[in-house]
């Protein structure tokens, strides 16, 4: 592939990679799209109380 096409290809890849990392993994993009929706957090572990 000629250098210019290669440059554009990897420009796009790096751009979306970095932007996606910031908005998906660093800050949650859902908070931008749905800013005031309720945040429901639950425990992923079910702790069973032992009577003894």
């Amino acid at each position: 592939m000629e250098p210019r096409k290669l440059f554009l290809k990897y420009l796009l890849i790096y751009f979306f990679l970095i932007l996606g990392f910031i908005y998906l993994h660093v800050i949650n993009i859902e908070k931008i799209i749905y800013p005031f929706s309720e945040e429901k957090v639950e425990s992923t572990v079910d702790f069973v109380y032992q009577q003894f």
């Binding site: 979306f16 996606g20 990392f21 998906l24 993009i29 859902e30």
Partner: protein, 397 residues
């Protein structure tokens, strides 16, 4: 992200794994720089695979016992089983997988200490299906050779970490050659390929697939309407592609970084114009494996028995191959039906191709514009694949 997730670190799921791979790559590079002997490569690879399995993999004991069982089975089969019939060896080697698929299809019960519950803890090993397929391929390829299969090469092949979980499904002969070439393979051109695969794989799996899942799939409201099903169907197709293809690219990338030419698994599958081409582009390593170890032996068997005519034999072999593929995914109905549907697609296309050859013309499109035919074929392929994969997802039933 919990950086200290020991014994619960599947490949490409956490920073822990990434850090582990960086250390491994650095070690290989160091040994290459030190001009280590070729023989050292396989032992270094063995250590890397073993350390991962024993320290990071969720069920270390179970997977090592499985590998030993498979090695012993291959050894005994090569030594004592002389028949041309490959069904029996395939069944012997598949026993752990068959049992696991059976267990997976049973309803999950409380931690009641039952045999089923305890079996689940033992046999549900991530990557088991892929490992079994690799070993079956190894046995069939090597059954007539007299070359000894060393445990080190066998272990490296079956437990190769980057491809452990969901492939690509490699071939023993090719892999072994890479191991023998060893440090010679590690070069800047291969590193360039590795880097290209790495950035693309990260983009596919952790950005695009993640975006589709979190922003679209998770927010689709299941009101059982036609719109919901159609939306979910197409979205899931693209999610699965980016997630699976991304994972494959990462596996290829890390393999390349340590000198192994892991086979390509996805090659622009949405450009496929027919089912045959689709399986050369989507999950290519599985398509090739099914072709070599299911389709060809079934077709050969039917030909030997002189059952049916040639086109019928091809169609039966195709349908059975894809049905078996469905069972390989799982014993649940949605996996089997999905496999059968891919089989039906391939059979229809096979008949179509046969008719075109016999009549000397395109029996469906006639003399339509070739470009229009191509676009229509692309459109049709994406839709029928989306439907089959939607069934595969288990959302429909």
């Amino acid at each position: 992200m919990n950086l200290y997730a020991v014994h619960n670190t599947l490949p490409f799921t956490s920073l822990t794994f990434a850090m582990f791979m960086v250390i491994v790559i650095a070690l290989f590079l160091f040994f290459k720089w030190m001009k280590a002997k070729q023989n050292v490569y396989k032992w270094l690879l063995f250590c890397f695979n073993l350390v991962y399995l024993t320290v990071l993999f969720p069920k270390p004991l179970q997977i090592i016992i499985l590998i030993m069982y498979l090695y012993l089975a291959v050894f005994l089969l090569r030594r004592f089983y002389k028949s041309e019939n490959i069904v029996f060896p395939m069944v012997i080697l598949s026993l752990p997988m068959i049992y696991m698929k059976y267990i997976n299809a049973q309803p999950v019960s409380e931690n009641d200490g039952s045999f089923l519950t305890e079996s689940r803890k033992i046999i549900q090993i991530a990557g088991l299906s892929y490992m079994i397929f690799k070993v079956i391929g190894l046995y069939i390829d090597e059954r007539r050779t007299t070359m000894k299969i060393s445990f080190v090469h066998f272990f490296n092949f079956t437990a190769f970490v980057p491809a452990l979980l969901i492939g690509p499904i490699d071939r023993y002969g090719r892999f072994r050659e890479d191991c023998i070439k060893g440090f010679e393979n590690i070069s800047f051109p291969l590193y360039q390929k590795a880097w290209n695969n790495l950035v693309l794989g990260l983009l596919f799996k952790f950005i695009i697939a993640e975006f589709i899942h979190r922003m679209i799939l998770s927010h689709l409201v299941n009101d059982a309407s036609f719109t919901y099903h159609v939306s979910y169907m197409y979205t899931y197709l693209f999610y699965l592609f980016f997630d699976f293809a991304g994972y494959s690219l990462l596996a290829i990338s890390f393999g390349n970084f340590i000198g192994i030419h892991v086979p390509v698994n996805f090659d622009k599958p949405f450009l496929a114009v027919n089912p045959k081409e689709f399986w050369k582009r989507w999950h290519k390593s599985l398509g090739d494996w099914l072709n070599d170890y299911f389709f060809k032996p079934i077709f050969k068997f039917l030909t030997t028995k002189q059952w049916f005519n040639s086109i019928q034999r091809q169609s039966i072999a195709l349908f059975l191959t894809f049905t078996l593929m469905g069972f390989w995914n799982g014993f649940e109905l949605h996996f089997v039906i999905s496999g059968m549907l891919f089989g039906v697609y391939s059979v229809i296309h096979n008949y179509y191709q046969h008719k075109c050859k016999v009549k000397g013309k395109d029996v469906f499109f006639g003399s339509a514009n070739p470009a229009a035919i191509q676009y229509f074929s692309l459109f049709l392929m994406i839709n029928i694949v989306a439907f089959a994969i939607y069934i595969f997802s288990g959302k429909l039933f």
